[in-house]
Each structure stands twice: as structure tokens, then as C-alpha cells.
């Protein structure tokens, strides 16, 4: 069953990215997601980017559903179910958080819970950087060099890992980025957690459409940890279409 929530606030965050705030009394762990239904349009998963009383989802416009959502106004309604899935587990020690593109939406509530950490926020260019105001003292990387480190988040991460000692890495972003971070963590023997994305239908662990290497992103994930992540050979390489057909990423 859905809960109908009223959009209280909408904020432009970055190019093509908006945050929608609404009240929902359900307790949410950082990394969990809602299924959001826009009646007559589509239903899709969205990470919860604000987990306290006034909840939030931070949505990048990429297709017909998210475009429709971007056209909504304060006072409009959303149909939600969830929160679903397993979120991040806060580990002891110093953390390196690596967020690419809209992946920062998933990581943001986690960062609010961490004590000893450094954050890399990355995007293709400076217009697409997300939450650089929400979190101060962050490292920035842009593919085109328009702000911060000129290059990929993973390259900046390697430099930081060379100079400092970290106990755990948390990451969310484009899959090639996460796959690379997992590879780096494995090589360096550091624990890692990554929040994965796959096409979702049921969101409740019965349809198998979101599975990666036999694990359901919607129930067993979306946050997976090492060493399981080290064994997932589909990560960064293969995903399934809505039909279930496995295709190269």
C-alpha cells in the first residue's frame, strides 16, 4: 500500500538535480530507498537523502518519470512505499567517502552520522556537483577540471589513500566509479561499502529483476560490503534489462 505525502519544499541543487522534502514518520537508515509512484506515469526507486522528520529525495532528471517529478510543485503529492533495503553500517575509524553525481544523495545522510571522515564529491563539471554547500571541507573532483581536482574521483581517492590511512571506504555513484573503488579497496586491503543500482520492479525481493550475482539489490542491498563486493564479478561489467536479459554495461 502507498502512503500519500505532500511535497513541502523543493530545492534546486545542481544542474538537473532537485530535492523534494516531505513528512513521513517511518524510520529510515542512511542508504535505504523509497519506491515512488507517480500515478499514471511510472514508479521508481529513490534513495532517501534526508532521513530525519522532514524526509527528502534528491532526484536527477534522466527520463520520463524523473522529468515529470521535476515539473512538480510544492503542495503536489507523491505516492511512496518503503523504506526498503539495507543501508550503510557505520564502521569504526577513519572513513573516506567517495560520491559521484547523484550518488551523493545516497551518501549524504551517512556523512551526517560519521565522526572521522573525508569526503570527495565528484561530477562531470562544476554545475553538476551535488551537496557542496551541505558539507563543508570537502574535496572536489571534476572530469573537466572546472572545479577542484581535474580528473576522476577514483584518481583523487588514490592520491588520498597514498597520503593518509583510512579504515573504511563508502561509495556511491556511476557503476564504473564504484567498481574501480572496489578494486582499489581490494588491492589495499581496506573495507568498503557501496550502494548499488539495478533496475527495480517489486522492490521487495521477489521478482529477481534487480539481482547482481544472485543477490537482490532491493533487499540484500542496496548497500553491499566487502568481502562480498570483492567477489561480485558482474559489478561494473554486466547488468540486466527489464526483460532479465544480461547485457554488458
Amino acid at each position: 500500500m502507498y502512503r500519500v505525502v505532500k511535497i513541502e519544499k523543493i530545492k534546486d541543487e545542481a544542474k538537473g538535480i532537485k530535492t523534494f522534502r516531505f513528512h513521513d514518520s517511518h524510520k529510515v537508515e542512511p542508504g535505504q530507498f523509497y519506491m515512488i509512484w507517480l500515478p499514471g506515469v511510472d514508479e521508481f526507486p529513490m534513495s532517501v537523502s534526508y532521513v530525519h522528520d522532514l524526509k527528502g529525495v534528491t532526484v536527477k532528471k534522466i527520463g520520463k518519470g524523473t522529468e515529470k517529478m521535476h515539473g512538480m510543485k510544492e503542495g503536489d503529492k507523491l505516492w511512496i512505499r518503503g523504506p526498503y533495503g539495507h543501508g550503510f553500517k557505520v564502521e569504526k575509524g577513519k572513513a573516506l567517502v567517495v560520491g559521484g553525481g547523484s550518488g551523493m544523495a545516497t551518501l549524504a545522510p551517512l556523512i551526517e552520522k560519521l565522526k572521522d571522515y573525508e569526503v570527495i564529491i565528484a561530477a562531470r563539471n562544476k554545475e553538476e556537483l551535488l551537496f557542496t554547500e551541505r558539507f563543508k571541507d570537502v574535496k572536489i573532483a571534476t572530469d573537466d577540471g572546472s572545479l577542484g581536482y581535474h580528473g576522476f574521483a577514483t584518481e583523487l581517492a588514490e592520491i588520498m589513500l597514498e597520503e593518509n590511512t583510512y579504515d573504511v571506504i563508502y561509495t556511491c555513484g556511476p557503476e564504473p566509479m564504484m567498481a574501480k573503488m572496489v578494486e582499489i579497496a581490494k588491492k589495499r586491503g581496506i573495507k568498503i561499502q557501496a550502494s548499488l543500482e539495478r533496475f527495480m520492479k517489486c522492490g521487495i525481493g521477489i521478482c529477481d529483476s534487480c539481482s547482481i550475482n544472485g543477490y537482490r539489490v532491493c533487499v540484500d542491498g542496496p548497500v553491499f560490503s566487502s568481502p562480498l563486493l570483492f567477489e561480485m564479478d558482474e559489478l561494473g561489467k554486466e547488468k540486466r534489462r527489464p526483460s532479465g536479459l544480461k547485457v554488458k554495461i
Binding site: V4, K201, G203, G205, I206
Partner: protein, 301 residues
Amino acid sequence: MLQVKVGTLNLRNPLILASGILDESGETMLRIAKNGAGGIVTKSIGIKEREGYENPVVYEFPGHMGLLNAIGLANPGIENYGEEIRIAKKGGVPIIGSIFGSNEDEFAYLGKKMEEYGADAIELNLSCPHAKGYGMEIGIDTELVERIVKKVKREVKIPVWAKLTPNTSNIVDIAKSAENADALVVINTVKGLAIDIDARMPVLSNIYGGYSGKCIKPIGVRAVYDIRREMDIPILGVGGVENYRDVIEYMMAGANAVEIGTAIRYKGINVFEEIAKNMESWMKENGFENAEELVGIVQRR
């Protein structure tokens, strides 16, 4: 203690994963096999790749009242399914290839392919759309069911199971039209509809869906009981099995084994191991040495 036979197929326990639930990918099926299932039925596979209907395709009723689904027969297409079967087979339990088509030739082709891929049996999903349309299912046309079963039986050597729809006025007539099959699987989902009153529209993009979960168990048990009363064919009981008592109930009504789907939503993939353990204890306490002794014991012929 829990070993059972369904025709010539030996199962380590009578708890089979039902079609359409966590059985699209070979690796998920392998994981379920490692978690105690006695057998696995694949997702229903057709001739061509299909994305299925648009979201929402699953609706969960509040208060553990079951699920309504209209996935829309999403599947990667039979030509792309060999690898998934190959991986699933590593689990060491029988893999039953579920197939759907629109006529007997398609079913026969799909059946042969499944056999070639190494499936241990075939399950005919007769709850797919009838060419005549109007939301009619193939499985309520007794003549067509008979033709499909006979044709697939002629074309393959592995056992052929026919899965029946409850959305008919007389399931026993349908069962009799499928008597050439090696086993009957009863029941598929019950046709239903859910409306979101705030949105003022049906929830599922397909409007109609199939109802599953513990609320449909009495419908399934009744179908098994009625068919067993008139036929000696092996039967797989499906619909709302969540715990060991449900399994025993189906078996007492006349099922040789059961299939489990929706329960995974509530019990997780450990549901098979949990049921197996509890079923063994119940059998010991109640003086049963072999699960097959349970089959049909409430029948009054």
C-alpha cells in the same frame, strides 16, 4: 524423511520454488538451491525477449494480505536462457523449466529448448493470454490445453507438468483435459484488481493482476482436493504456502509436493530450510516416517 517422488523425479524435500519468484537469473536460483529448496521452477520463458509491463507491476496489500502482480511475462527469451539453466543446475536440485506460448507449436519448441539446456522437467504456464483476447487465459480452453499437453509430451522425453489457472468455473475439467501430463501444478494466481482511492486509479499499470499469498491457500487446497478425488496423477500444490502446516495441509489434500513463492517476501530465502526443519519435527511427533505417507490422507473416496 522428506524425500518425495513426483512421477519419476526425485526431490530431497517437497519444497519447490514457484515460477516467477527469484528465478530469472541462474545465480539467484543457485543461491536458492543452496538454501534448501527441493527443486526450482524457472521464471516462465517465451519465444522472444519481453520487458513486461511498466511499473507498478507488484502491489502489496497491507496487513500481510498478499500480493497482486502483473509482471507481464517479462523474460529474456528462450534463445538467451541456456546459460541461466546451466548455472542453476550447479545447485544439484531438479530445475523445472517453465514456458509460455500462444499455441501448441510454440510450447513444443520452448519445451525442446529447455530439454536441450538440461532442464529436468517442463512446467507449462497455461495462464498466459488467449489469442481470443478479452483477458481470457489459454488455460480455460480445455481443447487447447489438451492439444498443448499432447504435443509437448510427444516432443520431449523429460516430464511435463501442466500448471492450471484457478480462474475458471471448473478446474477439474481443465485438469482432466491435461491428463496426459506427468503432473499437475495447482494453482496459478487468482485474478484480481486493486484501486488506489487517492490516485483514483488502478495501481497496476496493467489494471488487472494475479493475487498470491496466504489468502489464496484455501482456493489452492480445494483445487488439489477436488482433483485428487478424481485423478491419480502427481499433483504439486501451490498458493499461499508459508509454513510447515501449509505444506502438510496441501499434502493431506492430495499434493505430492508444493511450490512456494510469495512467502519469500515475508520469510526470506531461508523459508525452505525453516519449513523442512519444522516439518520433520512435526512428522516425528505425529508418527510419520516418510512424507509420502501424508499424501491424500484426508480424502474420502
